[in-house]
Subunit: 221 residues, 2 copies
């Protein structure tokens, strides 16, 4: 039985050119950053130029899944290109605004993951179904079991691509401002303003039968 | 005097391949989406492969500015390439989780802007200073006037690139789930869970003089 190493192997493009002390390669940190959101920004090259699109993603072990219409250009490209579509998938959480005494030392507390690799279209039906469940459950854990699964027509209209976690890095900034010693007496406020996503009160769909309560997995968000 | 048209001209790459009814090209909508956040995902091509990095940005009229260390690889590339660095800059707000009766119709309410273009290094000192102020004020409006401006050494260590707003589109999804009529009687809860960033109580920097109160422009966030 092969053992998965506890960390991703750094490569030339996953070692940052600066602030290297912020880089992390351990799987636990990377998975936690990936699992605390559902939105990623997917980059690919079209006609020689970069394209970055926001999209949902799911994770199953060491594989990320992205889905879309079979008419979507990047997903078409992943299916048609051999060997797949080179992509960069990036996830970012903003945790705080860092206000320093000097404009120069202003910053953001954040946690990000950047995944480099090649995306391939998933054609196996069982894997496609698993990936779609993972996508729904990544947004609202527990939801896939409490909705109608995709039917044959919907499955045929949906393309799924997979991106394995091999060339991966996380980057994390925490803490207060790093002001220069000679600036500390300046009369400006300095510190951190915490930021986090907040969920509002669920709004039932128009016409939802009154007897259907908000599920616990939604209240728990 | 030239008049700026009220909308960006759609191009082949700013017309989405699907959900075209979600696309917007008017400047007012685009500027509002850009100005309600400070985080973008910047895509570019390195050695033929896509790279997507999270970074801060500022806006001055029809120009976006991104900054970084002069040792940063993309910024170096923008300065060294003639004519500049092809980029795609994307901004996304998540406004709600859309839970449908069917897994297939699950979605996200969002507002995004995608900017295609070429980034150039800014070398004019006055424009560089203006851009750096815009970057700070984009995160916390009013902050640049209440901090120490960059000195000569800091300016020399900072690269600024500009990206003009020419090839731009917004995409917006709002409202509840779009379930199929035959699914409406299914016993699952459906609706929208609103999402928005929330600011926590500001945390003063270690050693901040007790007499310096949290400024109004921070409390106002």
């Amino acid at each position: 039985m092969s053992v998965i190493p506890a960390a991703y192997e750094p490569t030339e493009r996953t070692v940052p050119s600066r602030s290297r002390e912020r880089a992390r390669y351990d799987r636990e940190t990377v998975h936690a950053i990936l699992d605390q959101t559902y939105l990623c920004h997917l980059g690919f090259v079209r006609d020689g130029a970069p394209v970055v699109l926001p999209t949902l993603f799911g994770r199953v072990g060491e594989t990320l899944y992205v889905h879309g219409s079979t008419g979507s250009r990047p997903l078409l490209a992943a299916g048609q290109q051999d060997p797949g579509l080179p992509v960069c998938l990036t996830v970012t959480h903003v945790d705080g605004l860092v206000l320093a005494k000097s404009a120069f030392h202003h910053s953001i507390n954040y946690r990000s993951v950047v995944v480099h690799g090649t995306a391939y279209e998933v054609t196996d039906e069982a894997e496609r179904r698993m990936a779609l469940d993972a996508l729904v459950d990544h947004v609202v854990p527990g939801r896939s079991a409490d909705s109608r699964p995709a039917n044959t027509k919907e499955l045929a209209a949906t393309a799924v691509i997979r991106l394995d976690l091999n060339e991966v890095s996380a980057k994390i900034r925490t803490g207060g401002p790093n002001d220069d010693a000679e600036d500390l007496e300046l009369p400006f406020w300095s510190g951190v303003v915490p930021v986090a996503p907040a969920y509002g009160t669920p709004v039932p769909a128009a016409g939802l039968a009154p007897g259907i309560a908000v599920p616990d997995y939604v209240s728990a968000l």
